[in-house]
Symmetry: C2
């Protein structure tokens, strides 16, 4: 074990006093049920009428138990720093309530439940994982449990393990499914109560009591470290534009936070591009304007941040992707029987609506290939494989060539591309994420022991010191909304996009003009785990601006 | 300025006592001249007969000066963490010897000398850059000063600035040119003495008194941080092979050190591949063996490190590249007049020797494109643009497909690729690099004031605590050797490759079998600048093994 891990193991996560002494705390219903959409309420006859819960000292439902608790847990979906601390807080919490309580982790993600693959958590095991990154304690996976058959298997497995409660550590989809599972178990007389924990580095699972999900802070801090290093490089060599694509599907929270921390010349925010109806050409115009202005100031270098999800927010690209997915879904076997790119693209292009065919034809060949040949496990276009930054660069280069030939641009344009994703998803959690995840685990323990089901563990007030944070249980059903997916209305937790009227985006929008021409790159260094409080106890900038 | 930079500015670099009190030190010639190759000695009638110098307390050539020193400096070539500390040490050193000494930085790299672009270093300016990454204090560039005309201009500019000494902070080529410049200046009666400082993250500028160059430690630590995060990710999700290409042209020191720090499943060392005469197919066989064995153990994931320079060490690839460069050089204008990839490749393929034509035809189309279309500023194949990891993956995927159809492989093979380079080159220097670079700067100050010319500043004994390090001046000519370059014999500093008989490689070679099947990934965390000495005062592992 490295010196780093040995030293980091000593860090004692902090959290609200209520959670730190669960034995003297209770869970109270503090607000009635929010009015739900009727169609949603109808889907949840058993759990639709639950109110907001608060974990507090001397709450009405004293948590101290005569009997040990038997709890299960699983990681669902992509890794996020702090996952092991959720488990650590959960384990500590249920053991505080009764020393003989047990925690069972299902391995390899939700499919581990179906296969009944699990391992018991012990204090010794947990001690080796406290404050570490990754989900390797249990592993993870993307299997979605959403059918009645899956739920029936869960009920049987939970019964086999005699679980009082089961904790799902996952994102929007996993917590949506947790809501349905909670309802199913209650309806079928299972004693197992379901608690969700909001996890995703994307931070797109937000709500009135969830300012961010755990893992976001750490992942962005790693990206910000690297972006700042790259910006220093740009500033030293003065010869490259660095286009940096950042992980984070759909919402641009990661790009926005990274931009606030590092102050690049341009950061594209997908939600803004969509609001303004920007086409690919419109975005390239915007980039060209900055490059031309900087060249006029003698600066042929810069840093541009591109959110991974951008492409879905550009009207003609999202139409093209939807059209491609539809044709592929309808003719999957035949398309796969066609050998090679040329045959496949000819077939597809011939069946696309005219506008999408034109969009496809206008794309660089590499991007065409990525759209056609890379598919996700469901056979859809694999959006995360599309190198949007290279697409933008190819179009931008050609536009700059035109501007040069017309005499409007006199610079030199050379570039490097980067994709930052896996580099940060399993970093050791910052103090903030270590504390937050631990507190979420303790909150989940409180909810698990309180007899309620279908709740999301929530810890609120994150800009305050951890001992002033508040712990809540938010009914999962209250987070659901009807959305059209694959041609059907579904009750889902909608991804929280960047709020263009919110203080974080406004701060960014007011600051960025200065950044685009000046070189105001901010260099905050790598995450520091030891040293002055001002360095080790930071929180995301986007949470702090008012 | 960020809290990180403010806090880091307080770090006081450490170094040998002799350097910390230059005023009481001297420079002594401690060894006679090494016997030089005759052809090299002939090139350096003025400087060939200089011996090894040592900076020590009470040395024979007392450094204390009655007059202030006027010194110039320049960054040459790629950025390396610690560059600003070389300047800081140099500035502090010459001011200790006389408070009115001055330091002038030439901006934008060696071309800044030719253009006479410079800025004066002040204490206030320096304070803002101490312990920071990047070369943005002066900027840098890749212009090579190697012609008599360039040297004459240098002499004129140095004379204009009345410089007693000039310090070149650069790699092997820059220090080679520094040797010739020193000879030229002496021959032409210039008073300006030349001192070189060994800089490159590649660490390929080694010698008996230069265990590594500054910047290597920091850059590799950043890469190791990210590799460990990626390995955690692989271990958590258990579904991807991550192929990680690492910056570092020619020599594989970066890959070797990163492997020793992180323990990946495979790390390809170019020098070993070359020694064993491995073809591309041979390397793919080696990778396939590990993938098949891991799959048999239920592991369809892993981490593979690929040095950027690998492709030059593979016989058929290096022949192909040499042949392409020759044809391109001979027919440059015509080839550039051909529009597009297809026309160019047809022309080139028709002129290649038969074996190289076959090699080219066997490469994936993306790689063919990178070979043909991406050129460096000299018109040669741009080796750093070639995505070797993707080439290996494409060949490996097809080989695994064959093995599967033959029943020898039953796994699933999915992958992600990464290139780590610019992410680490401008990080804030570790304590080791901060100390080492500062000490090199002080050594350069001692040499600058001692009246010698054509020396490389060297600080030795790096595995000892900094106060026990020793400072040397190594004659640049003693590092030269004749090498055939572009059809001519040239005196150059030869790049130091990985020593396959040395302790570092042997340690790696003895350990790696266990790593290939086990998951022994080591997670050392990001660079820590504050905290326990065991964490903040580390040195490269490859320097410490015996």
């Amino acid at each position: 074990m490295s010196e780093f891990l040995i030293a980091r193991r000593e860090y004692k996560p902090r959290g609200p006093a209520t959670l730190m002494d669960l034995y003297g705390s209770g869970v109270s219903e503090v607000a009635g049920v929010e009015s739900l959409e009727l169609r949603i309420a109808d889907l949840f006859p058993k759990t639709a009428h639950q109110g907001l819960l608060r974990v507090e000292v001397g709450g009405t439902n004293d948590l101290a138990k005569a009997d040990p608790l038997r709890v299960g847990a699983v990681f669902s979906g992509g890794q996020a720093p702090g996952g092991h601390n959720v488990v650590g807080g959960l384990f500590e919490g249920i053991r505080k309530l009764h020393p003989d309580s047990t925690l069972t982790g299902f391995t390899g993600g939700p499919s581990g439940i179906l296969k009944n693959q699990s391992l018991p958590v012990t204090q010794e095991l947990m001690d080796g994982y406290r404050n570490t990154g990754g989900f390797d304690l249990f592993g993870t996976g993307r299997t979605k449990l959403e059918s009645k058959e899956d739920f029936a298997t869960c009920a049987r497995i939970f019964d086999h393990h005699d679980l009082d409660a089961f904790v799902v550590i996952g994102g929007d989809d996993s917590n949506t499914n947790a809501a349905f599972l909670a309802e199913y178990l209650l309806e079928h007389g299972s004693k197992t109560r379901i608690v969700g924990v909001p996890k995703t580095i994307d931070s797109d699972l937000r709500g009135p009591f969830t300012e961010t999900s755990f893992g976001f802070d750490t992942a962005v801090r790693v990206y910000a470290e690297l972006i700042a290093n790259i910006a220093k490089d740009a500033l030293s060599g003065r010869k490259y534009y660095h286009f940096i694509r950042l992980m984070g599907r759909s919402a641009s929270h990661i790009t926005l936070e990274a931009a606030m921390q590092t102050r690049p010349n341009v950061a594209l925010i997908s939600e803004e591009m969509a609001r303004d109806g920007k086409t690919m050409r419109g975005i390239v115009d915007l980039l060209a304007k900055v490059v031309v202005e900087r060249a006029a100031a003698g600066k042929n270098y810069g840093v541009v941040l591109v959110p991974e999800g951008l492409i879905e927010f550009i009207p003609e690209m999202s139409s093209l992707i939807a059209d491609l997915n539809e044709i592929i879904a309808a003719h999957k076997d035949y398309i796969e029987s066609l050998r090679g790119f040329t045959a496949q693209i000819e077939y597809l292009a011939g069946r696309l609506p005219r506008e999408s065919a034109a969009t496809l034809a206008g794309l660089p060949i590499d991007i065409q290939r990525q759209l056609i040949m890379d598919r996700d496990p469901h056979g859809n276009v694999a959006l995360s494989r599309i190198e949007t930054e290279k697409l933008l660069l190819e179009l931008l280069s050609s536009q700059l060539g035109e501007l040069k030939s017309e005499g409007h641009y006199h610079g030199k344009f050379s570039f490097q591309t980067h994709f930052l994703g896996y580099e940060g998803r399993c970093a050791a959690p910052t103090n903030f994420d270590a504390n937050y995840a631990w507190s979420l685990g303790l909150t989940a323990a409180a909810l698990a022991s309180s007899g309620h089901t279908g709740y999301l563990a929530a810890v609120h007030g994150l800009t305050l010191p951890p001992d002033q944070w508040q712990a809540w249980g938010v009914p999962l059903v209250s987070m659901l909304t009807m959305e059209r997916r694959k041609g059907q209305d579904k009750a889902v937790i909608r991804k929280t996009l960047v709020d263009l009227a919110g203080p974080a985006f406004r701060w960014f929008a007011e600051s960025r003009d200065a950044w685009s021409i000046g070189d105001d790159y901010r260099f905050a260094g790598p995450i520091q785990y030891f040293g002055p409080a001002g360095l080790v106890d930071r929180i995301p900038v986007s949470l702090t601006v008012q």
